[in-house]
Symmetry: C2
Subunit: 512 residues, 2 copies
Amino acid sequence: MKIKTALISLSNKNKLSNILKNLKKYKIKIISSGGTYKKIKSLGYKCIEVSDYTGFSEILDGRVKTLHPKIHSGILYKRNKTSHKKIIKKLNFESIDLVIANFYPFKKIINQTKNHKKIIENIDIGGPALVRSAAKNYKDVTVITKIDHYQKLIHELKLFQGGTSLQFREKMSQVAFGETASYDSIIFNYFNNFSKIEIPEKIFIKTNLIQKLRYGENPHQLGAIYGNEENFNLIKLQGKELSYNNYNDIFACLSLTQTLPKNRGTVIVKHSNPSGVSIETDHLKSYLSAMNCDPISAFGGIVACNYKISLKIAKEIIKNYYEVIVANGFDKAAIKLFKSKKNLRLIDSTRVALNKYNKIVSGINSFLMQTNDNQIFDKNNFKIVSKIKPSKKLMEQLIFSFNVCRSVKSNAIVITQKNKTLGIGSGQPSRIDSCKIAIEKMKRFKQFDNESPLAAASDAFFPFLDGIESLVQAGVTAIIQPYGSIRDKEIIKFANDMGIVLIFSKSRHFSH
Amino acid sequence: MKIKTALISLSNKNKLSNILKNLKKYKIKIISSGGTYKKIKSLGYKCIEVSDYTGFSEILDGRVKTLHPKIHSGILYKRNKTSHKKIIKKLNFESIDLVIANFYPFKKIINQTKNHKKIIENIDIGGPALVRSAAKNYKDVTVITKIDHYQKLIHELKLFQGGTSLQFREKMSQVAFGETASYDSIIFNYFNNFSKIEIPEKIFIKTNLIQKLRYGENPHQLGAIYGNEENFNLIKLQGKELSYNNYNDIFACLSLTQTLPKNRGTVIVKHSNPSGVSIETDHLKSYLSAMNCDPISAFGGIVACNYKISLKIAKEIIKNYYEVIVANGFDKAAIKLFKSKKNLRLIDSTRVALNKYNKIVSGINSFLMQTNDNQIFDKNNFKIVSKIKPSKKLMEQLIFSFNVCRSVKSNAIVITQKNKTLGIGSGQPSRIDSCKIAIEKMKRFKQFDNESPLAAASDAFFPFLDGIESLVQAGVTAIIQPYGSIRDKEIIKFANDMGIVLIFSKSRHFSH
């Protein structure tokens, strides 16, 4: 089936001339209006104006152009149905077999202006109606909504001598409904923001495939990562394809490094839990402290640095086996060195910003949504409740401990000394077990000195004395924890009896 | 501003008469077509047919009805713009100030039939175009797309004497774009399924608010649960509002109970990790075994049973403090008993089926998607690699262990005896640590006898001998683990030297 007539209605008029050349080649008549009409004429091609075609003038500043029965009937009629063909003939309507359209750039406009009136003016009405008509009738009509598909269209026209295959039309129809659904979901989300609704009645997540992954968390599961290219700022400099678990771990790393003091933090993550964290202005020290906290777990893990990796640090990192190195840039010499480990993935995260979007996780036939837990801590969040007050430095260490703790899977206990973790206890159903693990790790890897105070953080309050007792017995002299237990008073008394520092946090930080 | 003319175009014509009564009261002219026109007439109200209004006959079996400039101009013109008003007057068009429309029931149809042609016929073109025009021009036009909002419209008409407030129109406009976006995303997803695309180029998640939650994982985070009411089959029989963490734990429970043999399984979950699991035809034994595996962790946890809870079991459960009890129903006497614990949430999950949908979790400006890991294990997934072969009963125990293991956060080690867990090691960055935790728990809670074999499962292969050694030293005589380590041969040799059973799984089961 040859295409006789094409309707072209474009907001983005890029790459049009090649299409026009091909339509001419197959003697396809072109109908268009407004700016697209002018553009086609200026490129030297013949074109009929929509208003001449319908006999109805374009009115209301272009608000109503193609919303006309002659247009929509020409698209929607079934080519193989006698009654349809008859009425089209009787009304002297024509067949429109190809629609090439894209819409007013609503998304671009909302990024450019806050002017609500102007934004609303950029809601396209005629374009989506055209596209939906054509997409519905894909059995007979080809609809092109993306400039990326122009080449495919040209290829089809060539292959089918001015026609297209049903398979192609079906695929383009699907793409078209994807475009109209996207378009209206962006409008819906805009209205939500405009009306300042935080928990809307309905949510749309519309996201594009960034990359199919080799598999999901495990080889028998399919996996993929979706997002919007424009703000997916992980730049891969070298290495094997990132896996599902790599991405998962990278996100775990970055959520933490971004809340650590800038240009000082190193985080090593394995199985989405930090195995070592350090903040030091001396980057080499920062990396070594994070690694040495638990060198066994670090093996095969992911290193994330919120600083630029120099050759010196690269030389140290390369001694160990890691899957991914994430950093705020790499010195040229470091990149050169890493080239010897071809599989090692290097990720530049300089442009990644703290996640503003709500967190979403799918449950059974449902989704749980929540706002993020990544604000930078304010000192007002904490209250010294022990008789002994911490020094400024110890207070900083306690806040560092607490910050690390919220990114460890609950129940979480983190023991630190100075600017590094010594023991991290994660993912236990009972808090005392997390204490035991943190203590055991600290004792096993012995990264402490005997002068500086040991501090510990707990992501939620201690329900009993046993947890805090075990920490103090292991040498911890300063503890930070959320308040809220019926035993809070008992805990404070215990801290005072033991002569340790105790800080209560207003916020709790479960993470699962 | 009084509404002069309303256009009504409904697929679902329920609850229309009350609207008509009110439109008549405020002398609002009605335009309609097809089935809606007939319905309005049959209810005894005046109505102008669209074709009489536009002078253009309804053609193509109703495919083109309202796609006419007289209709769309009447909706879209700006009431406060002189040039717009002039042209409307000149063309003898009229103002359409209210659009009440809903669409061909595309979603209902795809649930009713597999007939692609019939499904495509149910893509509404005119309706969404009308609704989008009205929604864009909400400054002047009211658009109603949901029957739920009829009462609100009537209320507005009364309040504003035949008009509506701008605030209402804005809200209804937002709802309208939600409807059109939903509609097209369902069509897009249908095409994806029709074309059997598993990793589509674009995904839409469109989901409705089921419930705002008190907060997210923590009190300073907002939280909500979204889903589609029709397949969200958790039925709450009593108790406090479910929290974010409750839901998260319920999903963790059900993912496991649904893969356990029917009518036998009890799972206790805390912080989204199982703390005890058992399968026994004697339900009381099943519950007690799950609970006793780690009674300390069970405290404050969630119990899920894939059987109906009798009074006998309820009496046992009520002795402990739990947040939620999930079961395939409750005997009346059990419900009565639980009434004494008002806050305890009882959830009937009888109608919940294994999750077919892909799993989605948000990362930084992105989403990770993967297919589920909840298939029922097939014996072909496993290979006996040791000289000693397991009895049928032991093989079942090993598969049970492995099944539990995949729902424990990685690295995961699960030790079992007969039909119950003895020790669960979860969430450690290094596998040997998970072994130690599982062993330590087994020794602490002593739920084993000295006759039956101890089996252990690992969610991934042992990278070194140390993990498997520690398990054998602790008395384990049968191990199930994925293959794939460069030390697999060494592991097999070790198993044979020790005289234990070793099973290799083809599938690995990380879960984070």
